[in-house]
Amino acid sequence: MTVSVDSIRLGQGELPRRRFRWSRVLPILAGAGVALGIIVIWHLASTLGWVSPVFLPPPSAVLAALGRLVTTGYVDSTLIQHAGASLGRVFAALGFSILIGVPVGLIIATSPIGRGLFDPIIEFLRPLPPLAYLPLVIIWFGIGETAKVLVILLAMVPAITIATAAGVRSTSKNQVNAARSFGATHLQLLVNVLLPSAIPSILTGIRIALGAGWTTLVAAELVAAGRGLGYMIQSAAQFLVTDVVIAGILVISAIAFAFEALLRFIEHRFVPWARNQ
């Protein structure tokens, strides 16, 4: 007889008790441990004089700097204003990138001519480091907001375009044929089948694009910005205000992490089929 004890218990209508799982908790504990370890070593390094506090202020100093940034600010703006300016640029660039990248991705995936037209441009842009074309963008568009948003946008568009095209191409042939056999026009096929089927991939593209956007932000704010997290870090670095530099880095990281989490939540909530297939 090989009836397991568990199945007999379950048969009596008793719910299985949720067992505490080390395998779930361990990675979180390990992560927290590493973070804590870094903070402790960081603290020891700066307080015991291993590294000069000018180069590495202790965690407490960074925390204090963060507090000052929120209340009195740095280089004429508070942290909220700096962050607001940067968020404005990144999200303006993201908005335009979606408006450009999604349609272009659809065209690349559905039309050979469109692919011939746009694929080279995207493949040309994709591997370029933003710092390489930043000077050119400034020559062409000046040092205003346009140039800053444009540089970030150029870094974001390829990710969204490629993700959209990949998503469209991943639609199963039968899903497309089914719609055709029910009499779908080309436009109906695009709107009702290809686009929804590409949404999980587009969301992934947006996540990658946001990563690229934050990376490019500091570079974009290098030149003639009056506000922004990148500008704040740059200014602080020039005067060796290291605690503000580190605080700025932590803020960017926190914001980027928050949006990553938000996008994951959106994906979980609104495209549940992506993880259930």
């Binding site: 044929n177 719609a179 055709r180 029910f182 009702n192 549940p272 089929w273 259930n276």
Partner: protein, 259 residues
């Protein structure tokens, strides 16, 4: 006369030694249920793709009620083996999809979809997500969706191929009922001889290299089931068993069924 007809169609690919289908002629009348049997590679699915309009024949033509058809259209709705449902829509909206394409009003769409779901035994399951449904239930949704297009012909590419034996038996009976009620013509591609024999009014055997029809057999087990005879009894009848064995050997030897 109402007929979906493949007229001397040849489907050939360049560099292939023999055509996939060679001057094949097959007519399906409205109210007929034609099942196509054949080994893998005999061109069964190509035959359906031609009838659906997903492929154009190299030679010959496909006609519907006498006029040549190009490309797919709602008068020939297709049910696929891998259900091909849309996971971003719930069961009801999947069924309503062909109606949406025809711009039927949302309330009417919903009503009709609910009715079709009930017809395939899924009453009240409209809100379910596709991934919450079992293989058999998905296939029911796929069938209801095809029927929503109000086709003249229902083309089915191994719709029960991925289901377990029990579900398959239930689904066969469902297919018969649905086909009878909707008064469509049906084309079923299958590799199950028993399924073909039980469902069809005509069983056609394809042979490969080149793809051609080697046998065509009129049968009536499905009609007798619809008239009230039990499925198990029909399937174990000596006639049924004898025909099944003949067809199995026809499929394997690529030779005609001895009359």
């Amino acid at each position: 006369m109402s007929e979906l007809r493949l007229n001397a169609v040849t489907l050939a690919y360049e560099r292939a030694r023999s055509p996939v289908l060679d001057r094949l002629t097959l007519g399906i009348g409205k109210g007929e249920f034609v099942a196509v049997l054949g080994q893998s590679g005999s061109g069964k699915t190509s035959l359906l793709n031609l009838a659906a309009g997903f492929l154009e024949p190299t030679e010959g033509r496909v006609t519907l009620n006498g006029s040549v058809v190009h490309g797919p259209s709602a008068d020939r709705a297709v049910v696929f083996q891998d259900d091909a449902l849309y996971p971003w829509l719930n069961a009801r909206d999947n069924v309503a999809f062909p109606l949406k394409l025809r711009k039927v009003a949302p309330t009417l769409r919903r009503e009709r979809a609910e009715r079709l779901l009930a017809d395939v035994g899924l009453a009240g399951q409209g809100d379910k997500h596709i991934w919450e449904l079992s293989g058999g239930m998905r296939q029911r949704v796929g069938i209801a969706r095809a029927l929503a297009a109000e086709p003249e012909y229902l083309l089915m590419d191994e719709p029960l191929g991925a289901l377990d034996a029990m579900t398959r038996d239930q689904m066969q009976e469902l297919l018969l009922t649905v086909w009878h009620r909707s008064a469509t013509g049906a084309l079923l591609i299958t590799h199950s001889v028993e399924e073909a024999l039980f469902l069809a009014t005509r069983v056609v055997v394809l042979a490969a290299h080149p793809g051609r029809i080697v046998s065509s057999l009129d049968v009536s087990f499905g009609r007798r089931f619809l008239a009230g005879e039990p499925a198990r009894a029909l399937k174990s009848e000596p006639d049924f068993v004898a025909l099944r064995e003949q067809l199995i050997s026809a499929v394997h030897t690529n030779e005609a069924v001895a009359a």
